[in-house]
């Protein structure tokens, strides 16, 4: 278990290298290698999940598990101290569920890609690179490493949509690329500001000679370094600037004269700079989530992407946005998070309602599901904004559960599209008569997604709503009406799913004349069973036994919310008082 995290990240990369060596006409070996790589990654993620100790909580210094920390780039900036980038990976309760999800969906995606015939080699090469970068994102604890993987997701995705996609694929690919790149540029600005302001206490202690080489940082030394830093008794040349996210989570690691220090009192456009940086980071991740009004790339990308890529996009790529909010934005800027909680929650509610209304209006089944993703991601935002234990648990649960269910939904759309090359709702009627098994899977997926008790969607929505409703008392961050409005989203979800079900699947069998000739409407085949059954089982399993997941994440989340709330109140007072 020593290098399990690195193995998780680099298994697909090794598989990609192996694919590179196989000649392009040998399609089956290429697919086999890709499947083996994905299966191995899933096995490792399962092993990690089972081996993960759910009773620990990462407070910024301790508590991350399976940590691997190596110096990567380290050089002197002369009088400005040292510049340090580390290969720093680890898991805590927040990331462990995402790792498991990535493992599972990665395999499902390969199976779903089995029917790809056009340049198979290139396709699986890019697919495996994508898996590597997503996994890297979830495991990185160094901001630079995170950013590297975050940016590197764009490229494979761009080509996967642009070459293997539908009729408007080029437009969708460029739109996706530009949108997400702009988002990551916002993140880049914030990253530069942050790492120039934060020191790594351990490396600085080493530099000062307070620690021997190879010794671990003790709380006493940590306190000593931080006190020296805040009393300005450390020479600039001895400060080791760091990208480490855990170091950024502690306000005492900020250099006193830096603009991002809570007490710097520095304002830009009449706002404290820390607030502006919070908004920058938030905007960057919001594009990825996506949050209304920066969601417009999502329907295009989803509709044009081939089925397996839609699955990957909905199930794991969107989660990187929500994960980034929880991993980076909130703990690093808890003051601004408390200040802007209404904005974040409001955008969440807006996404819930707007996404649901759009879904209601769509006549393309894939677009309907794409907008339902927007709506569901709104719950994640609402849960995070509440900063209650239930809310954040719910948000993470929602990400996991939506990963499973949306993968299933997009696969189901793929099934009908493979057979008829069409997915407009009005072109079909009474499909239940011809494809009964397919229809039953659709019913399961739809009900799971709209939050019927017994499915994982229910647990997550319940937790988020509980959390956000209690937030007005417990944390004082969200007004009650937001929860009330968000509940309408559930109603709308029921409406668009049931209406689609009624229009497409019930009644007398009929399909649009033009489609009838080329269409070969047959029920599911073995490959499709292989993908859909495990996902359906997981949706039910996590709906009935939420403790499977909550036991692993619960302690970490409650510690996390406490940390953010306490630091938030303290730092917010500092920021506001230093302005006047």
């Amino acid at each position: 278990m020593d290098f399990i995290l690195s193995s998780l990240i680099f298994t697909p990369l090794l598989a990609a290298l192996a694919v590179m060596l196989v000649p392009g006409r040998l399609q089956l070996p290429i697919k086999g290698i890709a499947l083996a790589g994905a299966l191995l990654q899933m096995g490792l993620s399962l092993l990690l999940f089972l081996g993960f100790n759910g009773n620990s909580f990462a407070d910024g210094q301790q508590g991350y598990q399976f940590v691997e920390r190596l110096s990567w780039i380290n050089f002197s900036l002369g009088s400005l101290g040292r510049f340090q980038i580390e290969y720093f990976v680890g898991v805590d309760g927040i990331s462990v569920s995402m790792v498991l999800l990535t493992g599972i969906v990665g395999v499902i995606g390969v199976i779903s890609s089995w029917t790809i015939t056009q340049s198979v080699k290139g396709y699986f090469l890019l697919y495996l690179l994508l898996l590597t970068s997503v996994m890297g994102c979830f495991l990185a604890l160094d901001f630079f490493l995170f950013y590297l993987f975050f940016e590197f997701m764009l490229l494979p995705m761009y080509f996967l949509i642009g070459i293997w996609g539908g009729p408007k694929r080029e437009y969708a690919a460029i739109k996706f690329f530009i949108y997400t790149l702009v988002g990551s540029l916002f993140i880049l600005i914030a990253m530069i500001g942050l790492y120039t302001s934060v020191i790594d206490p351990q490396a600085t202690a080493l530099q000062l000679g307070l620690l021997e080489k190879g010794m671990q940082l003790t709380p006493e030394v940590l306190q000593q370094v931080q006190q020296m830093l805040q009393n300005k008794t450390i020479e600039a040349a001895d400060m080791v600037r760091t990208f480490s996210i855990p170091a950024m989570m502690d306000g005492a690691n900020f250099i006193p004269d830096s603009l991002l220090h809570t007490l710097s009192g520095y304002q830009l456009w009449n706002q404290p700079l820390r607030f502006i940086f919070f908004l920058l980071l938030f905007a960057g991740f919001a594009i990825k989530v996506p949050v209304v009004p920066v969601h417009t790339w999502l329907p295009d990308a989803h509709v044009e992407a081939p089925t397996p890529i839609s699955v990957l996009l909905a199930a794991i790529l969107l989660k990187v946005g929500g994960y980034g909010l929880i991993r980076i934005v909130y703990p690093v800027f808890p003051d601004a998070a408390a200040y802007f909680s209404t904005l974040v929650g409001g955008l969440g509610v807006l996404s819930i309602i707007y996404g649901a209304l759009c879904a209601l209006a769509m006549n393309d089944l894939k677009k309907l599901i794409a907008y339902s993703s927007v709506s569901h991601m709104g719950f994640v935002l609402l849960g995070v904004a509440s900063m209650t234990t239930e809310g954040v648990n719910g948000a993470i649960y929602m990400m996991f559960s939506h990963g499973i269910i949306s993968a299933m939904l997009f696969l189901l759309v793929g099934v009908i599209y493979d057979r008829t090359h069409n997915r407009l709702i009005q072109n079909f009627r009474g499909l239940a008569n011809e494809m009964p098994v397919y229809t039953s899977f659709v019913v399961v997926a739809f009900f799971a997604s709209l939050g019927l008790p017994g499915f994982s969607g229910f647990i997550s929505e319940l937790l988020v709503l509980l959390g956000s409703f209690s937030a007005s008392e417990a944390t004082g961050l969200l007004p009650r009406w937001m929860t009330v409005v968000a509940v309408i989203g559930l109603l709308l979800a029921a409406a668009y799913y049931l209406w689609a079900l009624q229009r497409m699947f019930f009644g007398k069998y009929w399909i649009y004349t033009d489609l009838r000739e080329k269409a070969l409407v047959s029920d599911l085949n073995l490959r499709e069973y292989l993908m859909l059954v495990p996902l359906a089982v997981l949706a039910v399993l996590f709906g009935i036994f939420p403790s499977l997941l909550l036991d692993k994440i619960g302690v970490a989340v409650s510690g996390f919310t406490k940390l953010v709330l306490v630091n938030g109140q303290e730092q917010l007072q500092g920021v506001l008082s230093s302005i006047i």
């Binding site: 050089f75 400005l80 940016e151």
Partner: protein, 489 residues
């Protein structure tokens, strides 16, 4: 002469220049075919001499006109690399290969141009600086005109000469003002800085603006960038690659030395107008370069404007006063060298073998020749500044320095530079990605099955490798640069 050994690289270049010109007189085909390799040997010799540490002194040489320090030594290494890359590209260039007359002159003037670049980086005297710049300019005019039967080449050369002589004249005018104001031509000396502070600030600003006309022309920064698209369109590809790196690097180093006395006491203290002017020029160059590139239809013009935008980045990098931005700038210049020679090699291949003259001509080439396509992608993404390529690291260092400087001075200009630089990267992606877009997404390449030669493939990989290495281990280079810079100061 004292410290003459410090000028060894320059002597070597002159020696090989003379050798080349002499040998070019022989009519034997064997000797003619040896000329490129002779030039290559010359560049290698000057590279080796400069890489070996301890060979160079740090005292002023040649009647106090030149000065060798770590900065000059590192830039000399860069210029030798530029020369080597240009020769390699020229050897692989079909149209230069078919050239009957003037091949010897071409390589001779390459040597002369690199000599000029070396002198630019070393000169500490305004007059010497002017001579060095003119040496580079004259060699550039002739190199642009190498393909005489090409009408565009003639047009490009003429435009280049006209713009070039105008800006040189303006620069000389400004230099005369500076001499009058300070009484010394030695623009890095202490006396020069002190005299500047006592002179009339308005006059100093006017003189500085005039002098910058010449510098900005060399680095193709706005508003002196108009020659770039035409020259890039008309000149032979290796020469274009050379222009996008060599003179730009030298120009940046000259500006670096030149502005030091102006901002010795902080960014906006003594000469706020010069400061403001440079900042605005950097932003304008960035904006013009990036937005004009969006509308280009040919790869050569697109890269011309891309090189304008890189000039903007470099100008911005020079304004991070108070941080040790020199190593960041040198790192960026190094990366720029590999990126530009890489992408121009791709273009040269596409033009020579596949008759690509417009962006749309790339249709599907990348899918037919995956190696070429992938390498094009690597260079373009590095030019955009995306990880995992060294272009990202180069930009990261520049942005970091700008932020640091902003942190110290709270000068809003720096923040604007930083933010516009980062956001324009988004615009940059939009035009750079056009080439891969046509390479991979559009149409299918359907022509006779051509084979890309092994030497081309090797060279493509060779330019790409440093981009990856310098992303994953930038400290290898920065540590070395730092050592060079600090050991001699």
């Amino acid at each position: 002469m004292a410290g003459a050994d410090a000028l060894l690289p320059e002597f070597l270049l002159v020696l090989f220049f003379l050798l080349l010109v002499t040998l070019d007189l022989f009519r034997s085909a064997t000797i003619k075919s040896m000329l490129p390799w002779l030039a290559l040997t010359g560049f290698f010799a000057s590279l080796v001499v400069q890489v070996l540490e301890g060979r160079l002194g740090q005292s002023p040489q040649f009647l106090n006109l030149l000065f060798s320090d770590g900065l000059a030594q590192y830039s000399g290494i860069l210029f030798s690399l530029v020369g080597i890359c240009t020769v390699l590209l020229s050897v692989l260039n079909k149209r230069l290969d078919e050239l009957q007359k003037g091949r010897g002159e071409y390589y001779a003037f390459l040597l002369l141009l690199v000599l000029g670049l070396n002198l630019m980086a070393k000169s500490v005297n305004l007059l010497m600086l002017f001579l060095a710049i003119e040496l580079v300019s004259i060699a550039s005019y002739i190199l642009t005109l190498t393909l005489k039967e090409n009408k565009r080449s003639i047009e490009a050369g003429l435009k280049y000469i006209l713009y070039g002589s105008l800006s040189a004249g303006v620069m000389l005018y400004g230099m005369s003002f500076l001499y009058g104001l300070t009484g010394t031509l030695n623009h890095t000396s202490e006396a020069f800085g002190l005299a500047l502070l006592q002179a009339n600030p308005l006059m100093v600003t006017v003189a500085a603006v005039l002098v910058f006309a010449g510098f900005l022309f060399k680095i193709s920064a706005a508003p002196f960038h108009f020659w770039a698209p035409d020259v890039y369109q008309g000149a032979p590809m290796p020469v274009v690659a050379l222009f996008s790196t060599g003179p730009k690097m030298a120009g940046i180093l000259v500006i670096l030395r030149f502005i030091a006395p102006f901002f010795a006491t902080g960014p906006a203290s003594a000469f706020p107008d010069v400061w403001l002017l440079l900042g605005i020029l950097a932003i304008v160059t960035l904006v013009i370069g990036n937005f004009t590139a969006l509308r280009q239809q040919t790869p050569r013009r697109l890269l011309a404007y891309s090189s304008v935008s890189h000039a903007g980045f470099l100008l911005a990098a020079l304004l991070a006063v108070g941080t040790n931005y020199t190593s960041g700038v040198l790192f960026y210049l190094t990366v720029l060298l590999f990126m530009n020679f890489g992408i121009f090699l791709v273009l040269q291949l596409a033009e020579d073998e596949f008759k690509v003259t417009k962006l749309t001509d790339f249709h599907g080439l990348g899918r037919f020749y995956p190696f070429l396509g992938t390498m094009a992608l690597v260079y373009l993404l590095s030019l955009t500044g995306l990880p995992p390529f060294a272009g990202f690291m180069g930009k990261l260092f520049i942005f970091t320095n700008l932020w640091e400087a902003y942190n110290h001075t709270n000068d809003t200009m720096l923040l604007v530079l930083l933010v516009s630089g980062i956001l324009l990267t988004g615009v940059a992606l939009f035009y750079y990605i056009k080439i891969p877009f046509y390479l991979f997404f559009k149409g299918n390449y359907r022509e006779e099955n051509l084979v890309i030669s092994l030497s081309n493939k090797l060279l493509l990989a060779l330019f790409g490798l440093p981009l990856l290495v310098l992303f994953f281990k930038p400290d290898l280079l920065t540590e070395w640069i730092e050592r060079l810079l600090t050991s001699t100061f």
